[in-house]
């Protein structure tokens, strides 16, 4: 499946400190140093003309080590062009090569069609197999149940979830 990627930033700010460091040393800035700061960062991936996912973040700090630190990320996932779920977190990381995303702190996924909300503290999203994974504690809330567990793997629309050490309380 051919996928296209688009990255936009409403305002592109150059990391002056990093540049100054690089210039003064006469070489590339060290890995991990912020090279660019992008505000209202948006990144999306499409296939065959349809959205696969779209990442929005208030800010993205892009460094030379191939990662972008994102602030208040929001990931919108689509299935057959229809918005299937939304993932939010306080912060995260995007690997610029693979586009894999790690979400951290107060991670919440809302799957609208499944009426399911997922809470955890850290969640990794792999664009290769389009699945979420975490080893952390997870809480899944459905209209009829609260499901706790530790360790999880799920697809982006939360239609296929595997949870470990699960405890379901029917309500």
């Amino acid at each position: 499946m051919a996928a296209a990627q688009e990255v936009t930033g409403a305002r592109l700010l150059i990391g002056l400190a990093a540049l100054a460091c690089a210039c003064s040393a006469g070489s590339a800035p060290p890995a991990g140093e912020v090279l660019q700061v992008m505000e209202d960062f948006t990144m999306s991936q499409t296939a065959e003309g349809q959205h696969l996912w779209q990442l929005k973040a208030r800010k993205a700090d892009i460094s030379l080590d191939g990662a972008a630190r994102i602030t208040e990320p929001e990931l919108l996932f689509y299935r057959k062009g229809v918005h299937a779920s939304t993932a939010r977190a306080r912060k995260g990381t995007v690997q610029t090569g693979s586009n894999d995303v790690a979400l951290e702190e107060d991670v919440v996924i809302v799957a609208h069609a499944e009426k399911t909300t997922l809470h955890t503290t850290r969640l990794d999203y792999s664009t290769k197999d389009r699945r979420f994974r975490t080893n952390e504690e997870v809480l899944i809330v459905r209209p009829d149940a609260r499901i706790k567990g530790k360790g999880m793997e799920a697809d982006e629309a939360l239609t296929d979830i595997t949870l470990y050490k699960q405890e379901t309380v029917l309500k």
Partner: protein, 247 residues
């Protein structure tokens, strides 16, 4: 046979609990399945839910347990198909229901299934050497075995099948089938000429017939009154200890 009777009398209630069907005698008929399940806790080492094609399938593996107000169920694995309504459980299945006055009724087998829509269920053992086992523990103890248990939670009926054996402090019974009908308050032993042996303090007896029927009679709370009918080519004996017949 009082304890054994009580065991089977309560079997349907246990089966209802096992199936989460909300049809037990103590449950108001207006209670929905969802209301009946409120507060239930289900645990397993691994849980997978797959939704698609208009169906949802939940699969649990690794020490699957269910608990709610005196009910306890466990199995090695369980699969619930929402569309068909079938809940299939495998491996070391145990169902336990706590009753009033600390009594407990339990049931165990190797493969079980219950349909949440039709309210039909079945529990089987692994083989003749590992049958379905049921037990009653309270002031008296009673237990039994059978190759298979089938029940209809809507009709409140249950059938123990193949090599049914039941024993308690007051006697033993064996038959090819034991048909329990909760609304009628009856238990019928039939097939392969069922045998009933009773050993009470004041008398003992053994009866073999084409069928042996126990009918529950009105009684005071906490007591059991039964009428026992043996029908068809009845053979047997009753023994009164010496001196008792002169009283």
């Amino acid at each position: 046979m009082t304890a054994s009777w009580a065991l089977l009398l309560l079997l349907c209630g246990l089966c209802s609990a096992a199936g989460d069907n909300g049809s037990s005698a103590a449950t108001p008929s207006s209670t929905t399945l969802h209301e009946e399940l409120i507060g239930s806790v289900v645990r397993s080492a691994r849980w997978n839910i797959r939704r698609g094609g208009g169906n949802t399938v939940e699969e649990m593996t690794g020490d699957v347990t269910y608990e709610r107000q005196g009910r306890y169920l466990r199995a090695d694995s369980a699969v619930y198909d929402h569309k068909s309504g079938w809940l299939d459980a495998k491996g070391s299945i145990l169902a336990r229901q706590s009753l009033d006055r600390g009594e407990t009724i339990s049931l165990d087998g190797q493969q079980g299934r219950f349909n949440m829509k039709t309210k039909l269920g079945q529990l089987t053992g692994l083989d003749p050497l590992d049958p379905v086992r049921f037990a009653f523990a309270g002031a008296t103890q009673a237990s039994g075995t059978a190759r298979r248990l089938r029940w209809d939670a809507s009709a409140m009926t249950a059938v123990l099948e193949e090599d049914v054996r039941c024993s308690g402090p007051q006697g033993t019974a064996s038959a090819d089938q034991a048909l329990y009908n909760h609304p009628e308050g009856s238990l019928t032993l039939q097939g392969r000429r069922p045998v009933l042996q009773a050993a009470l303090p004041t008398w003992s007896a053994a009866v073999q017939a084409d069928s042996i029927v126990f009918l529950k009679l009105p009684s005071l709370p906490g007591t059991h009154r039964l009428r026992t009918l043996a029908e068809g080519a009845v053979r047997g004996w009753i023994l009164f200890p010496k001196g008792l017949k002169d009283r």
